[in-house]
């Protein structure tokens, strides 16, 4: 399915030149910028924001990795260099509120930037979309997802890492879908296997890959759709489903994609 929608996207620099400031900064993240599958998530969120005229901007080429994988790989120097560079840019634009589709960026910006001089109100897109819903700005229609069985795979850095379990589930319920919990969920949610810089290396020797272990829960819950809220989980869960040759019966979608597609955007 080709995506021909024209997106309205301003950069902070564009707005600055016009003397304007957006309501939020959309932090796209490296996966959301470069990974082909994750770019679809990025575009979906932008479609939603465009459809209800949320005034947002991106940093564009001025954005750089938050440093999360460097920090978790043990390279604190590189992490802090990345952090300070980003903080200079963000503070330069007087950014107050940030929304991101990546729980790793979310966690780092929210929890690890403040003591380095970067204090922002940071939200994961599931939280922001829920807020828009509550304020009555966003309507969720559900479309073809109505009545579908959907399981949510909790991202570690959204769930256990930051205690947010409800916002993603509220969105799924709003689709009028049937939320089916995986056996290991919420505080006991099983990692997809990509956190802590694992995304960028082969796993250590073991008996099984972690995303394949996760497929046991998926096969037990038998959902039509596995919903994710993280670009790395997206990769791992998609690979897991492929490994089990279940691509035809189980689809993997990000929350933003479910809402955008349900609203026929």
């Amino acid at each position: 399915m080709s995506d021909t929608t024209t997106l309205k996207v301003n950069t902070m620099a564009d707005l600055m030149a016009k003397g304007e400031k957006p309501e939020i900064l959309f932090w796209v993240g490296c996966a959301g910028s470069f990974d082909d599958r994750a770019k679809k998530i990025t575009r979906s969120l932008v479609k939603i924001l465009n459809s209800i005229d949320v005034n947002f901007a991106i940093l564009g080429t001025e954005e750089s990795c938050t440093g999360d994988p460097a920090k978790r790989a043990g390279n604190e120097f590189l992490f802090q260099m990345q952090a300070m560079t980003n903080i200079q840019v963000l503070n330069g634009y007087e950014v107050k509120k940030i929304v991101t589709t990546c729980p790793h960026c979310f966690n780092t910006l929210k929890n690890e930037y403040p003591s380095l001089g970067g204090e922002y109100d940071v939200m994961h897109h599931s939280q922001f979309l829920q807020q828009l819903l509550q304020e009555g700005r966003l309507k969720i229609e559900g479309g073809s997802f109505q009545g579908k069985k959907i399981s949510f795979h909790d991202p570690c850095y959204l769930g256990r890492g930051n205690g947010e379990y409800e916002a993603p589930r509220k969105l799924i319920e709003e689709l009028d879908a049937d939320l089916v919990e995986l056996k290991r969920c919420k505080t006991k949610g099983l990692c997809c296997g990509a956190g802590g810089a694992q995304m960028f290396k082969e796993a250590e020797k073991g008996t099984k890959e972690i995303n394949i272990e996760r497929m046991d829960d998926v096969e037990e819950a038998k959902p039509d759709i596995v919903a994710v809220g993280c670009p790395f989980c997206m990769t791992m869960m998609t690979d897991g489903v492929k490994n089990k040759e279940k691509e035809d019966s189980i689809k993997v979608y990000d929350l933003a994609e479910l809402i955008a597609e349900g609203n026929s955007l």
């Binding site: 910028s33 750089s64 994988p69 790989a73 099983l190 020797k205 073991g206």
Partner: protein, 440 residues
Amino acid sequence: MGLSNLLFILIFLACVVWFTINVRKIRRNILLGKEVVINDRKPERWKKMFMIAIGQSKMVKKPVSGILHILVYLGFVIINIEVLEIIIDGIAGTHRIFASPLGSVYDFLIGSFEILALLVLVAVIIFLIRRNLLNIKRFGFREMLGWPKTDANIILIVEVLLMTAFLSMNATDQILQARGEAHYVEAGMYPISSFLIPFFESYSSSSLIAIERGMWWFHIVGILLFLNYLPYSKHFHIILAFPNVYYSKLEQKGAFDNMESVRKEVEMMFDPAADPYAAPVEPASEPERFGAKDVQDLSWKSLMDAYSCTECGRCTQQCPASQTGKLLSPRKIMMDTRDRLEEVGKNIDKHGKDYSDGKSLLGDYIQEEELWACTTCNACVEACPVSINPLSIIMEMRRSLVMEDSKIPQELTGMLTNMENNGAPWQFSPTDRANWVNES
């Protein structure tokens, strides 16, 4: 004062002194760790300790072992009121000294101790069955073979013996009370031990007195020895669980600390006023090591974590790496930290403060392969019933590997190079960052 009172006082004092010496050693060992100041948000800390340690809120996340554990925990805390009476009786040569001042309250207390003793007995026997007969995966990991398994069984068997002695003591006591033997004041309520009367009824009063005294001594000396077993055992958690929860991290689990030593250097690089040609300032003290290679490089809180661990394995059971057969087990990280710390402590006792045995936690106890298997998902931290943080030790060791020894999996070197060169973990040009806007 009789000979037996004197003997009791001597045993009691010896056990208290022995215990104090060992606890002070553990305290010294914990303080070998790096200094961190934890004295903020006190009301929150008390609340957390009340919920998690006193209230056992995490224990019941696994209902079977959780509820059984609460029985043993309550039994331990409440039956210890009885121990106070036993100690006073032992020193003063009295018998059931609380009986007359407390009156019917005493009857109620003894009655509830008996019921708790039975519940403890049942729980501990189920624990023994779970440990030794049922094939429960979390008790079977490689770090549990040998001493840790024996340690667990010793604790459980001692608890069986102590509770049996307590109930037998009460059974014989009440027969002697009924027979109107001198010294055995009529007091107490014995809902459980009265069922044991048939076993003892046929004995003469003098044999019963011997049995009662024997059980009394066995029970109290057993408790004093068990107290002194704690510092050598994982069972020390019954003491450290409380302070360990109190001092645990209150920030979101996803938040990792930013290293101060690094911040200073990075800030200098970003300071436009800094003179790049200035001679480096001589550090006032020895330069700090990045991350942790040995136990002394860890914070004292991580070392307290190690002494608080009772090896239940809930962390390892939840760990995605452990579940998929990787070498990493968060419980092993904690056990290794304690073992190494004990070794360092013994070295200090034997050879003095500055002795080095050339060994280290990283390398001699924990392997790189274990550390790199971690996904930093916080499942272990979430699972721990006493708020131990194995992840913080893993992270400190990764920092040491990367920043001190440049030992890092090759693929991660690539990722870091990409980040340095183009601000992304993959090899994409930063100028292409917003290409998604116009792609379809």
